[in-house]
């Protein structure tokens, strides 16, 4: 019950992000969700693709430094406090969140999801499900 994410090392220089996204486009890969973390020297482009395995292979073949990670996708209601409620559950279970980002599903119109990178997927998942949150797989999303 998790989603596979690809992280790509991108130097923090003008044109580098454009270069990798053009490469992804040229290889006909469709990105469903994306976030970019940046530091002074480098950035990490994190993407979730429908065909994860092909996307990861294509990027590696292209000479990019790639890491594959299992992350959690949690459906988030369109109400104030929704994110805070999810985070409360994680805090109570002593789960640390490394990063998080949001995306909208096209398949399930009107549904928003948060991606969470946590230090323990299994514990987080169990805790969220037991509190009634919907932790989804890629099949639900795409």
């Amino acid at each position: 019950m998790s989603v596979k994410q690809i992280s790509v090392f991108v130097e923090n220089k003008t044109g580098k992000l454009a270069e990798v996204t053009r490469y992804i486009a040229d290889n006909k890969i469709n990105m469903k969700a994306l976030s970019v973390a940046d530091t002074h020297d480098f950035g990490i482009l994190r993407i979730i693709c429908e065909d994860h395995d092909t996307a990861a292979k294509v990027l590696k073949d292209g000479g990019y430094v790639v890491a594959e990670t299992e992350v959690l996708a949690v459906e988030i209601p369109d109400t104030p406090g929704a994110l805070a409620n999810i985070l409360d559950v994680l805090v109570k279970s002593d789960i640390a969140v490394e990063y998080t980002y949001a995306f909208l599903s096209v398949k399930n119109l009107g549904h928003a999801y948060m991606i969470f990178r946590v230090d323990n997927n299994e514990t987080a998942k169990t805790a969220l499900v037991s509190e009634g949150f919907n932790v989804v797989t890629s099949e639900t999303l795409f």
Binding site: F9, E11, D41, F42, I44, V65, V66, A67, E98
Partner: protein
């Protein structure tokens, strides 16, 4: 008025100097041949005996010594006397693998300190001066050398060592230091700190500075002179020959007078070893003609410079060498520390990185900066910024451990550092140290 520490030497006629050099050289070659097996083997291999060396004109017949020889002979192989006759060890700054350990008898220490005393007097020093020595003390030759020279001149000596800059300035004010000895980059930093403390050059009594152990430009000299209100003098030396004071600048600031009654300089073609005439650019070679414990003959410094016997208006007849204009090897001097790119390569390999790297040296606010660009190894990558930053920090710490100075490490994409056909360009030195 010109002052000299040892006028009979510093202003000797060419004939007098040659007589000193010839006598010392003949005796030294004999001493080395008899006491240093390592060099005797080199001479035997070349078919040279002490009898072949009758004067300075025969110097070219002797074999060269290089840093590699020093490494091979480490630590005692080039010792010229029993250890019981030695009283001191000094060593090159913090570099592993190519460390040089030099030994001194009491006589060696004395002559070294005489050389430093000549430099201090040439910068206007007398027994009425307060000399603040802000070179590092310890194995590094800077502090001990100038400290000894300052004593010989009779200056009131402040053995501050480097660092703690506000305290340096406090002492300068309270104890009225008139001469400062340190690296030029530290002098520049003291100048900036003085300004930051809201003080002006007039608020301190410094009149002269003796700066060495790293390359610096005329522009930097002007900056330092202005910021501290002093006249800045260059001093040159290397642990292999003794330390600072092998040569020194006089009031003319036009090249450094070599203490050639102790160290005979030659300029050679670094590729062929052929001796080049004066006023020609080449690699500087020194022969120590009266050192007992560490008597290196024809030691190749790898510094590129020019020798000149043109008359100097200061009255000294000692031959002058230009500021080094570069190196005939890949050694860099960063913040006074000798750095070989191969050392950084060693760290990268041991830490699991590819040996494709780029070193960028620059100077910001008169302090050297060292940036190391390293290709990221896919196995070390992770999706979190924290993990990648930790890798950068770990690598910086490992390089600091090796070099003794801290670099800024930048991880870059694999294959992004230019590969070149022949010899890879690993170093970009943007400092423009040579005018």
């Amino acid at each position: 008025m010109q002052n000299y520490y040892q006028p009979e030497i510093e202003c000797a006629s060419r004939e007098e100097m040659l007589k000193i050099q010839n006598e010392k050289l003949v005796a030294q070659v004999k001493h080395v041949y008899e006491n240093v097996k390592y060099y005797r083997d080199l001479m035997d291999e070349k078919g040279v005996t002490p009898d072949d060396i009758k004067s300075v004109d025969d110097l070219h017949k002797l074999p060269f010594l290089t840093k590699a020889d020093l490494r091979d002979a480490y630590p005692y192989g080039l010792l010229g006397t029993d250890l019981k006759n030695c009283v001191r060890i000094q060593s090159t700054s913090g570099t592993t693998g190519k460390r040089v350990v030099a030994f001194y008898t009491q006589k060696d220490v004395d002559l070294w300190e005489d050389c430093c005393a000549r430099a201090i007097v040439a910068a206007g020093g007398t027994n009425e001066d307060v000399c603040q020595v802000a070179y590092g003390y310890g194995l590094f030759t800077g502090g001990p050398g100038l400290n000894g020279g300052s004593h010989k001149v009779g200056c009131l000596t402040l053995p501050m060592s480097s660092g703690n800059t506000e305290r340096q300035i406090q002492f300068m004010q309270d104890l009225h230091s008139t001469i400062i000895c340190c690296t030029p980059s530290y002098a520049a930093y003291i100048g900036e700190t003085l300004k930051d403390m809201g003080l002006k050059p007039d608020d301190i009594d410094l009149k002269a500075g003796i700066f060495g152990a790293e390359p610096w430009t005329e522009e930097m000299r002007r900056d330092i002179e202005k910021s501290l209100g002093i006249k800045a003098y260059d001093i040159y030396g290397l642990t292999e020959t003794s330390g600072p004071g092998v040569s020194f600048e006089c009031c003319e600031q036009g090249g450094m007078h070599v203490n050639e009654d102790h160290f005979i300089p030659e300029i050679i073609n670094p590729d062929t070893g052929e001796v080049l005439p004066e006023e020609t650019k080449g690699e500087l070679v020194f022969t120590s003609i009266d050192k007992e414990a560490f008597p290196l003959l024809r030691y190749r410094t790898r510094d590129i410079c020019v020798l000149s016997r043109k008359k100097c208006s200061c009255g000294r007849t000692l031959i002058r060498m230009s500021k080094p204009m570069g190196r005939s090897d890949d050694m860099l001097i960063i913040r006074g520390v000798n750095v070989f790119p191969s050392q950084i390569e060693t760290v990268l390999l041991s830490e699991g990185y590819s040996p494709n790297y780029m070193i960028e040296v620059d100077r910001a606010n008169n302090t050297d900066t060292l940036d190391v660009y390293v290709e990221l190894n896919p196995e070390q990558f992770s999706d979190t910024v924290k993990a990648v930053s930790v890798k950068e920090k770990e690598l910086a710490a490992a390089i600091t451990q090796m070099l003794g100075i801290r670099p800024v490490v930048h991880l870059v994409s694999p294959k992004s550092i230019t590969r070149s056909e022949g010899k890879a360009v690993r170093v970009v030195d943007k400092r423009k140290l040579h005018d």
